[in-house]
């Protein structure tokens, strides 16, 4: 067992983990941050996306010990200070970009990193960027629309939700 220390959503945390403990398990089981989901075992679905040192990573593909000393942020840390939804979260609600909600944390975290790198993406860029995030409920239409809207672009030409 190894001790790990990291900052998660702005708070210093620590724990002891096995070498094989995934960052996902550390977040879910040890820190009880269950908003980060596990949808697969082959790094394909993106339900587990978090930010490590500002970059989107699939937390199922990283050992907890690799995040030792890192700044981690998860879906639980995304809302505004006053608890209201941030711009991306609000756009997902406004444009009905979620149904069962299981893929949603990963979608929001992936969208956040996209908009940081590319604040005004095209529809094709959004679709390509979501290559690693599966959603079985929405057919993606409203997810794409929500991300375009969150980037401040006009989405009136995209059919109504």
């Amino acid at each position: 067992m190894t001790k790990v220390t990291m900052t998660v959503n702005g708070k210093a945390v620590s724990g002891t983990v096995e070498g094989r403990t995934l960052l996902t398990s550390f977040l879910r089981e040890d820190l009880h941050l269950t908003g980060t989901h596990v949808g697969c075992d082959t790094s394909q679905c993106g339900a587990c996306v978090v930010h490590v040192n500002g970059k989107a990573v699939k937390s199922c593909t990283m050992f907890a010990i690799e995040a030792d000393g890192a700044e981690v942020s998860t879906i639980e840390g995304q809302a505004n200070e006053d608890g209201s939804l941030n711009a991306i979260q609000a756009a997902f609600q406004e444009h009905h970009g979620l149904q069962c909600g299981f893929c949603t944390p990963g979608m929001v975290m992936t969208a956040a990193s996209l908009l940081k790198e590319n604040p005004k993406p095209t529809v094709d860029e959004v679709r390509n960027h979501l290559e690693g995030n599966l959603c079985r409920c929405t057919g993606y239409h409203n997810i794409i629309k929500a991300i375009m809207a969150a980037s401040g672009q006009d989405v009136s030409a995209i059919a109504a939700e």
């Binding site: 009905h96 599966l134 959603c135």
Partner: protein, 789 residues
């Protein structure tokens, strides 16, 4: 009543806030103090005799608390099929026992034969590796045709591997044969409805707790219908009395059918929790999900369409082999029969329909209802053969459909497949589709594609489905072992807010937002004061759950009925308060008034009075304001639609791109148009996935070759287009109080034939004589078809 929260409004979903902030509570998010973990030992052969299972070494591993094998469940019941189907000769279907853990034989890869309970998941996994199972592999039964020829058996006692041989409508068989023999033109099509894995993004998870002092069990599980799960466990499998078992399905991350069913893992964790007196949790990984969640579709079909000289339909005749896998899952016998055969008249006035379905056991995962369940298979067969027929007789495919549509003045219409359609207007849907899809601009778009060296095709489709499942008396006659009503309790609290307990279960459908809109409309209160309670058998009277696009039509109707009873009772109280008789009370927009006066009391005042009945005439009015209604539908509902798809095909590579996808649906009245549109989008995504990408491939030894997202092609954001969706042409359902029909499955039913029709049209436009390609219409399949044309 505020217009932005009642029926027809599109308030934003209240459940979104917890999902968007990571505070939803899915089953695996719940942990109990002192919980242990279950991991299953699963067969890696498709068919085999269990010679011995030695658990000695595994039991000695660190952290191991208990090990179960099939032996431990010999005394308990099996997981039953919910519908009894009789064969054409009157013989009941073959119904082998489906045990909690395999006993004697394993019958598909992934079939669980043992389970380890340990302190941690890792320890349980390690111990599973140490179980020594001697399983003698037998030849696998995979291909349905070979299975029916019957030299190897899935179940030793079923020597033909045939579950049933069903005919519908058997009395029409001879007349249908005759009509086909004498017809001016007969179009025949052989097709495969490809096997799919539902792939809800949340894997299944079940956790049980046992309270020894009270002899009570609680099961947290990923279910679309917690009451049905409780009923199956109580009445058939473990015999735990219903009043000692609480089933809780908290937030559920999608289902699409796969979470309707009771699975052995649920029974195992209950038994383990009792034995260990500790909570026991099992969470599926994705590989297990591929191997053990009930799959969908998997039909092999020949369909014939007979027409006269003018193109009038005379008969549809269908021969289908339907794969049920290794065991009968709960709805597996209804799906290829009454959810498929009864829809085989489509939207048409065709006078004769005959369907023969042979259900076949194979050494594969069980197959059951997946989004649409039988109706996509029916629609695909009908709408593909019509397209082929149109081409053969040189008629426009839209014209041929219109010529045979049931017309608006023909309702109620008794279809040749035995259903009574209550309402619809298929021509209006087609008109609207032609407009929304801009068919007038198609030629120009085709020319533009051709200028790029690509072929462009246009496919259309008309579908009807039967939803609002289902009238209990009718399904009882047809072999259902349960009733299919639903229930709701409306509880008006003293302070005027309202809890609505519902038997439907939301796993993405937005019930927490849409159902309050109904109550708000009827009571004239703000929807924000109404909360839905679902997913917990200890809090809800009863319910049959959410599937088959039934929640609004059946459970929504129960909500209406319960709310109407609330109004009746509240009027009594108001009359007492206003010192008038019941019949002199009027109720409008949340206010009770005395007819012809300006005396009023508000809904809130009546609610408070109901719980503080100091001056009630107690012989005339009971305290409290709470009512329950069970609603049993009088008929199915019949959503219908007209769809159009435009594809580009690259003749060099065979790659198909969906350029435009239009869905015009008649869902009757609409409660929340935003949610309805989202449901259609999701169905379209899955339907296009079936048409272009998805397939489930077992090799001849029964290994599932694509049991991961590296191998099974899930539709991704860059595979799918934006959709044009319209539901302006609704005709109200005539027999439920909301006039609603159901929208959850439509997209998955209407789109596959539309996409394939478009691909065939594209290839034909390039001079390729291709009349059919089986799904998925992958680049390889298209390219091969072009080469062979």
């Amino acid at each position: 009543m505020p217009k932005d929260t009642g029926i027809g409004a599109a308030p934003k979903r209240r459940e979104d806030v917890r999902f968007l902030t990571g505070t939803g509570q899915y089953s695996d998010d719940i942990s109990l103090v002192n919980q242990a973990s279950a991991v299953f030992a699963r067969s890696n052969v498709a068919n085999g005799v269990i010679k011995s299972i030695d658990t000695t070494a595994a039991a000695a591993m660190p952290g191991v608390l208990a090990i179960f094998t099939g032996e431990d469940f010999v005394e308990v019941g099996g997981n039953p099929a919910g519908w009894l189907i009789n064969s054409r000769d009157g013989e009941p279907m073959k119904e082998p026992k489906r045990p909690v853990l395999a006993h004697g034989k394993v019958r598909h890869v992934g079939d669980a034969y043992a389970a380890v309970i340990a302190e941690t998941v890792e320890q349980a996994k390690d111990a599973v590796e140490a179980i020594e199972a001697d399983i003698e592999e037998l030849p696998a039964v995979i291909n349905m045709k070979d299975a029916l020829a019957g030299s190897n058996y899935v179940h030793d006692e079923i020597e033909t591997n045939q579950c049933f041989d069903w005919g519908w409508i058997e009395d029409n068989r001879a007349a249908t044969d005759e009509a086909i023999k004498n017809a001016h033109h007969v179009t025949t099509l052989d097709l495969v409805n490809n096997r799919l894995v539902p792939n809800a993004m949340e894997p299944r998870c079940s956790m049980a707790n046992y309270n020894a002092a009270m002899n009570e069990y609680t099961l947290y599980t990923t279910s679309q219908n917690p009451h049905l799960t409780r009923l199956l466990i109580s009445a058939f499998v473990l015999g735990i009395p219903e009043n000692k078992l609480t089933v809780i399905a908290p937030d559920v991350g999608g289902g699409f059918g796969s979470k309707i069913y009771h699975y052995g893992e649920e029974a195992l964790v209950l038994a383990a929790a009792k034995k260990l007196k500790r909570p026991v949790k099992w969470t599926s990984d994705r590989t297990e999900a591929f191997l053990t969640d009930a799959h969908g579709r998997d039909h092999v079909t020949t369909i014939e369409l007979a027409m006269d000289k003018e193109g009038n339909f005379l008969a549809f005749r269908t021969e289908t082999m339907a794969n049920v896998g290794a065991y009968l899952s709960n709805f597996s016998t209804a799906t290829p029969t009454f959810l498929h055969g009864t829809l085989m008249a489509g939207n048409y006035t065709v006078p004769l329909v005959y369907v023969n379905v042979k259900a076949v056991f194979t050494n594969t995962a069980p197959v059951d209802a997946y989004r649409g369940a039988g109706r996509p298979e029916a629609t695909y067969s009908i709408e593909r053969v019509i397209d082929k027929a149109a081409r053969e007789i040189g008629m426009d495919p839209i014209e041929l459909r219109r010529k045979n549509f049931v017309k608006p003045d023909q309702y109620p219409f008794g279809s040749a497949a035995g259903l009574e359609y209550d309402s619809g207007n298929y021509d209006a849907l087609m008109d609207k589709m032609e407009d929304v899809a801009d068919l007038a601009g198609f030629d120009a778009r085709r020319a533009a594609s051709e200028a790029k060296g690509l072929l462009r095709g246009r496919g259309v489709n008309a579908y009807i489905e039967a939803c609002g499942i289902a009238p209990s008396n009718l399904v009882g006659i047809l072999g259902s072992r349960v009733g299919l009503y639903d229930a709701s309790t409306v509880r008006v609290n003293a302070t005027g807010n309202i809890s609505v307990m519902v038997g439907a279960h939301s796993h993405g459908q937005g019930h927490e937002t849409a159902f309050p809109q109904i109550v708000a409309e009827l009571l004239g209160v703000d929807a924000a004061s109404v909360d839905i309670v679902h997913g917990d058998t200890s809090k809800i009277p009863f319910g049959m759950g959410t599937y088959g696009s039934r929640s609004l039509a059946v459970c929504g109707s129960a909500i209406v009925r319960a709310t109407e009873k609330i109004i009746v009772k509240a009027k009594k109280i108001a009359a007492h308060m206003l010192e008038i008789t019941d019949s002199e009370v009027e109720f409008n927009d949340g206010v009770f008034s005395a007819v012809g006066t300006n005396k009023t009391v508000s809904f809130g005042d009546v609610a408070l009075k109901a719980y503080i009945p100091h001056d009630f005439p107690i012989d005339a009015i009971e305290p409290g304001l709470e009512e329950t209604a069970f609603y049993d539908p009088a008929n199915f509902t019949y959503p219908s639609g007209a769809y159009c798809c435009e594809v580009e095909v690259d003749p060099e590579t065979g790659k198909v791109t969906v350029e435009r996808m239009t869905a015009v649906d008649d869902f009757g009245n609409i409660v929340n148009p935003m949610i309805v549109t989202g449901q259609v989008h999701g169905g379209l995504g899955q339907g296009i996935g079936q048409a272009l990408l998805e397939n489930t491939v077992y090799d001849e030894t029964g290994q599932l070759l694509n049991a991961s997202y590296m191998d099974y092609t899930m539709p991704r954001a860059d595979d799918l287009p934006f959709y044009a969706v319209d539901h302006s042409q609704g005709t109200a359902c005539t027999h439920n109080p909301l006039g609603v029909k159901g929208c959850g499955e439509a997209g998955a039913i209407g789109s596959p034939p539309t996409v394939v029709n478009a691909v065939i049209d594209a290839l034909q436009s390039g001079g390729n004589n291709v009349t059919h390609i089986d799904m998925p219409v992958s680049p390889l399949n298209v390219w091969t078809a072009i080469q062979n044309a």
